[in-house]
Amino acid sequence: MASHPGSLAQQEARFGWKTVAPSLLLIALLIVYPVAYNLYLSFFEVKLSGQNEFVGFNNYFDLLSDRAFYDSLTVTVIYVIGSTLGTTLLGLGVASLMNHEFPLRGLVRGLVLLPYIAPLISEVFAWQFIFDPVNGIYNHMTVEVLGISDERVNLIGTPGNALLVVIIFDIWKNFPFAYLMILSRLQSINNDLYEAATLDGATRWQRFWHITIPELRFVVGAIVMLRFIWNINKFDEVFLLAPNVKTLPIYTYFTAFTGTIEQGLAAAIAVVQFLLLIGLIFLYIRRVLKW
């Protein structure tokens, strides 16, 4: 069979497109199209009857003049920064602990992963019970046993404190992810580096600072970025534990599905959230990771 290079390359290309097409099609249909549709909806007043009314940039103007939106923005920023930092730092700490040999290490490593893999909804109920103002063990410990506080508080119920609980919950749930990635990187660091450093008289801390940290730089960079993306978009963890913490996704949900249902406005919030995310990621990649 005679073939010239052009047609071979063409064949190759055709095969390449054919094999990737089903995935692309699905992604286009269920992600790209909805996102575009969302953008489109954001310029309309969406009626449940189906007759949408074009309102130009009104939804955006409404949004930008609404105090609740800025509150939500602030909450989102605090939540994202707090949970991302916490997750990464705790993951780093636990990974360096688990990097040492000790009896039953295998079991402990497995147990630490539980929060990450158990179904979210079941964990939420346990957390709510722990923080119950009257019957929960948290208040019992802080007020009666340790005497840190002299009054019982409803941490999850009161908006200011709930944000803190949600951040801690998020750290608890997701630090195993950071820990796993960091641990596997730690284990691949060449031991010779440490030995050489020890011979040169480096202290434990110096070894950590000058060898471990640089080796971990990229994996930590990646974790921070991933958690950042996920946490900005995070809905269920916040909504199920404390719906009174109105991060942008929660705010979108309430706007779209409760009270006076305003799906056009909700679409506009989602668009703003997406632009924000893209902008921050871009900054992060350029400034922090210097990629």
Partner: protein, 318 residues
Amino acid sequence: MVIRRILQKTGFYFLILLVLLFTLFPFVQMLSTSLKHQYDWGNPSLIPQKLNWSSYSELLGLKKEEVKVPESIKRLLDNPKLSEEKRQKILARFTSTSDVFPFINYFINTLLIAGTAAAISLLFAVFGAYSFSRVRYRGRSGIQRGVLLTYMFGGVLLMVPLYQISVHVGLANTAIGSILTLVVIYVVQTLPVSLYMLGNYFRSIPESLEEAAQIDGCSRLKTIMLIIVPLSMPMLVTVYIYAFMIAWNEYLFASVFLKNFNEFYTLPIGLKSLFVSKNAIWDRIMAASILTALPVVFVFMTFEKHLIGGLTEGGVKE
């Protein structure tokens, strides 16, 4: 020196214990409350005063308790128009205690939806990832990056449009349509990462193996099935389970699309709706939480080695 070593050791174990306490405490609380009687909930101690297994037996339908049939029901059923057979059937349903929380039913639903979504995702990803890692054509790296970019679109952003679309297409008002929508949504949610994880893995398979097969006359498709797939088995299992776990735990989309079809509830929304199934709820809800968590924990522990590899290589999405 020795004292310092001992101190260091003690400190180290103390830290390990602290980490374990932090991670496991909520689960201990869950277990403890699930075994307490109602009068005992206000008691901060984790050890139940008196063990209460009734929520578990109730949830699993093991409770063989005589249900008293009120007089009014007897009169209601004492209708000449009702055949004896029908009467018995109605009564049997009333006195059975198995459907408080149709755990087995929800379990099967979740298994089906998550299992199917993960299988489709895997199938698509095998071919897509092969294309990304082995086939050379223009635009490849562009698409690859584009696919990873879809990582950034979160659930709520897609929620409104997806719901609107499924309503317009008419999928949202039938059970089968809603389930289908849900499955496809889960496939798409897991696809970008499946593609990425598999693509990386395929690149690590020596190309020479494939070339040898092609010289033997295998088509590209056959090469994938005969060389690539068998060689990537561990990674395929990882990707499958990872996709499965995402669908298994998902709440938001399931709650919107399955709301009207309670016989098709998945475990997460079944559990959420269980919360309003009783006024004094904590023992029941905690027992159900434990039951829901067990299968996932079991699967994870069984496949732990595979999964940990996969998680760290792919940077798993949730």
